[in-house]
Symmetry: C3
Subunit: 432 residues, 3 copies
């Protein structure tokens, strides 16, 4: 498939209509992820978890509308460029505020902004899931605002809107530039890194890592939500990756069915791999880890589905599915990271692997280097900046609920009522 | 954006295909609303609530097919017209029975009937939600049949099929005529008014308003259903409003992304406003009210998303989100209205506000008056007629379950079994 | 509507885009069915039921990619043909392995493979639902692999890819050949027959048919999942049937709205009929049977929605809705079949009725005979072969969990943890 060229191909009515409707299907990925994350948390925080996903997405959308979209800019549009070592470095967009002139914008630009609305909402949901059961709603909103105003616009401009990562090919002959048509970097690495920083900053749930002995298993409270969310997420993801191929790679219509097959095979391969590996490792497959594996396959597909063939896509999924349970275990047991939704393994590691795999399997010379430059920029620039700004933010809006609030559950503490007022729940003694 | 003109623009294959597929996405709004309403009711009525949503939608669809579609008619098609004060008053459609000739109908007409199938099903679900925990299934079906045979065809003809409200512009120079591209009047005001009449006619749940003291809080039994339903509803609504813009305003493709952005911003703004106002008012944000606020933002967007710019859309959503918790409280505490799903505040008030806002923000002179005429027709003609016919219907098919049935729960009473037979539920003493 | 002719009509960009996006909506039918089936099982097996749906679909997709797609082939593509009685019998496809050349394939072929991915995943989910609460995950995977490698490719080739059933019209003047645009045979009869064989082979749940007295009612553990799944399934089904009409009948765009109306009316009619008949039979409508009726209406529509008019579609749905509760009762009480999801009645009987109805209502002479030949081939060839191969498979991968595993529930037994660890569940004494 062809990478984005600078001259946009003509966008016919049919392709515009297709891109538009794919972007209306894609939010099912958000709905699915929100449900999965809610199921992976505790029953006493379920309403807060899901309301949080809604409000976090709402804040991200509003802030993106007000300031983020202007900084994101669009390919071929106005942008901030500095020159260094004889090369232009296009680092920030300069579009009109408040999406001014959207209805008169060129078709690609209109659809690009729609895509970015969804992308920033999903990026904001990811750290929210990792902070389950102790992150305050106000902190979730503040994090979403920061991601939507600063981090996502930077990354989206670099990768999708003609920024320096997109132009690594033109300026430094590195393949087709950094390729990330489905948002593995802009959405999932950003979200996954944010999740990591949130967990660092917020700390683990009380009782998760007792002073003595092993860490406490805190299984998700509803496996049906977890797994059904995965199914819905697949539906959204199929459309999401197809839309990405259309918008950022200008893939022809005839290339899209392969994108869908690749996405499906990546998820299927990942699930099968996690299923097998957890069965071998623990004697029985683990439902939560399988859900995480499935999602990691989808995340990896966001990088690669539009640029590889079906067999590599299946392979990439399988590797993602092998990495996920391993990473979850390492993070929990070796590094004492308490990530209820597994977002770090799913989104950060799945995304890193997918972006790297694009370099491995892409036919173009220099592509692997382009991918590594992009990954290095995320690790070297974005991650430290996230740490710094979240650390500052935590001084202003305390991330963590007070211990008493955590003990009674975030629902009662933050919303004044539980999610399941008529159901009898087991008394939970992990906090006493 | 341009309002509907009488000469239909050419409908290309791509636009027809887009309209078609948008209408297949739109039922997610019905699925989401049904789930939200179920979650807002009691656990002992959950199966009846959701089965009711299904059967009510089924009855609405069948009755619309058999008689409603003929009375609805289509723009430019045969209709009943009388003359008064020198003006034509087009008040009822006269299409073939049983959708005769649908496959040979002009493309706009085909899609219009699909839209109306969804619209009438949603209108019928709204009062069903307000009657939760006491309204009988047979009554729900009868109400759905009445709405589908009489009320919806009248309104849909007036607003969408070249009826007198649509022609207020042509005949009385009132802007572009009454504008309601997403069904704020035909679906949500109709449904919301029906909900009001159902609650009047049926009375409040036993124990809701004790003879002494305050009203009893009866929180929804599953906040996850409530909030996840909101997310799904958003997905459906984005498509729904885009389809409305396409079908009833003949908006060009390039106008549709703004419609989607507006819908999203209206919901996001409404959620943020309800979140903030309930936090200020009660100390903590309220999950159910936030869900209601989100939905009210969507309802308001049904009127305005296709006719305003993004910034007004955000503002309209914020106002809807401020009004909703206020109205819920006023209705419950001041007027002793027991509306478990909050349908009156969400659909009636959200719809009224959205229709009014179209007049405020539309650039065309006379538009505000056109909107006020439409609102007046709904308040002055439809609401009294609803009251009269529902009152009569209640004589034939008693709306309310007998007290014993209500006490044991509608599931056991009407279906012979509960929705959650394996879960231990709290004993509910509100009825003893 | 026109049946498939051998010369493919030109596929415009708009129609390709539409077919593509319909196929991305269709998986909602899988998500809905998986949720419904989970709700119809026991709480102690809910995670295994839903994880099983995911893994079974994943295995089906991978195996279809690796071998199934090659055997399925495509209309006009290479295939295995033998000659008998002077006629060609096209019985197996011969496409490249691993979907080789998919991105260069003609547009119809690309979409056809996407359709088949979804179809085989759904076919594999159906017997999984019937084995609820005792079928092992490994057995589910093995069954899915067998269906995807052998049975589905055979049937799909016969019906959709120019095989002998499709050519009954050309070779034997039987109408337009065997018509099954939505997969009533290839998906639902195959799945329903597999469900029957699985239940035969696996046996009924312990305690279901006590040695003395009547069979034990084992109601589904969550009616909300059951009924909400039905709503989601409808959304997917509307797109699925439209895609089938487009791909297998080459229906023009203007014929698609009728397909959607027919699907909706068939489901609505079936629900209304089951509602009425269970109310008459048992005094109260039954929620689970109503869900089954609704789904049977959808299954019947898969055969007929693209080839009949709306009034017959409504009638066909009503008959499906009358048959379903009858069949469920007969199978359970007279034949002692324990089918928790009702898949045999829904998919096998609904599919048989729909295929037969196509013959009844189609205007073309010989069509009824063509349908009967197809049904006979399924009953005479596929069903015995299924029985044989599943019987053999059961020797290799034992279908049934050991009695102890069944007693503690499939979640604990196969996954090591329950789906609802924080909820208090009723002690179930049906096994003691």
């Amino acid at each position: 498939m062809n990478p984005a060229s600078l001259a946009l191909p003509e966008l016919t009515e049919a392709v515009f209509a297709l891109g538009f409707v794919l972007l209306l299907l894609a939010p099912l990925a958000l709905a699915g992820l929100a449900l999965t994350n809610t199921g992976l948390g505790r029953s006493r925080s379920a309403a807060q978890a899901l309301l949080g996903s809604l409000i976090v997405a709402a804040v991200a959308a509003i802030v993106f509308f007000v300031v983020g979209a202007a900084f994101t800019g669009s390919a071929g549009g106005a942008s901030h460029i500095f020159h260094l070592a004889g090369k232009p470095w296009n680092w920030l967009g300069a579009a009109p505020w408040l999406l001014g002139g959207l209805s008169g914008a060129p078709p690609y630009g209109q659809l690009a902004f729609l895509f970015e609305f969804l992308a920033v909402a999903m990026a904001a949901m990811i750290p929210w899931g990792s902070g389950a059961d102790r992150l305050r709603l106000a902190a979730g909103c503040a994090i979403a605002a920061l991601l939507s105003a600063v981090f996502f616009p930077l990354l989206a401009h670099w990768v999708w809107a003609g920024g320096w990562l997109a132009q690594l090919g033109v300026n430094f002959s590195l393949g087709a530039g950094f390729l990330d048509p489905g948002g593995a970097a802009t959405v999932h690495l950003l979200g996954g890194f944010s999740a990591l920083v949130v967990v660092w900053t917020t700390g683990s749930r009380k009782g998760k890592f007792p002073k003595e002995g092993f860490s406490t298993a805190m299984p998700g409270h509803n496996a049906v939500y977890v797994l059904f969310g995965c199914l819905l997420a697949l539906v959204g993801w199929l459309a999401w990756n197809a839309a990405g191929a259309l918008l950022w790679l200008h893939a022809p219509l005839s290339a899209l069915p392969v994108v869908v097959v690749n996405t499906l095979l990546s998820a299927a391969g990942a699930l099968a791999a996690t299923f097998a590996v957890t069965r071998i490792r623990f004697g029985k497959p683990d439902a939560s880890l399988c859900a995480n594996g499935w999602l990691a396959g989808l995340v990896a597909s966001s990088a690669c589905a539009a640029v590889v063939e079906p067999l590599p896509a299946l392979f990439i999924g399988i590797i993602a599915g092998l990495l996920t349970p391993l990473l979850v275990e390492v993070l929990e047991l070796a590094v004492s990271i308490d990530d209820p939704s597994g977002a770090i393994s799913v989104h950060a590691v799945g995304g890193l692997w997918g972006l790297f795999a694009v370099g491995l399997f892409a036919p173009r010379p220099g592509q692997l280097l382009a991918q590594l430059v992009g990954i290095a920029a995320l690790l070297g620039l974005i991650l430290p900046l996230l740490y710094l700004l979240f650390w500052l933010l935590n001084r202003v809006v305390a991330f963590r609920a007070d211990p008493d609030g955590e003990r009674i559950g975030m629902d009662l503490h933050e919303l004044g009522g539980g999610a399941y007022p008529e159901f009898v729940l087991h008394r939970d003694d992990s906090y006493r």
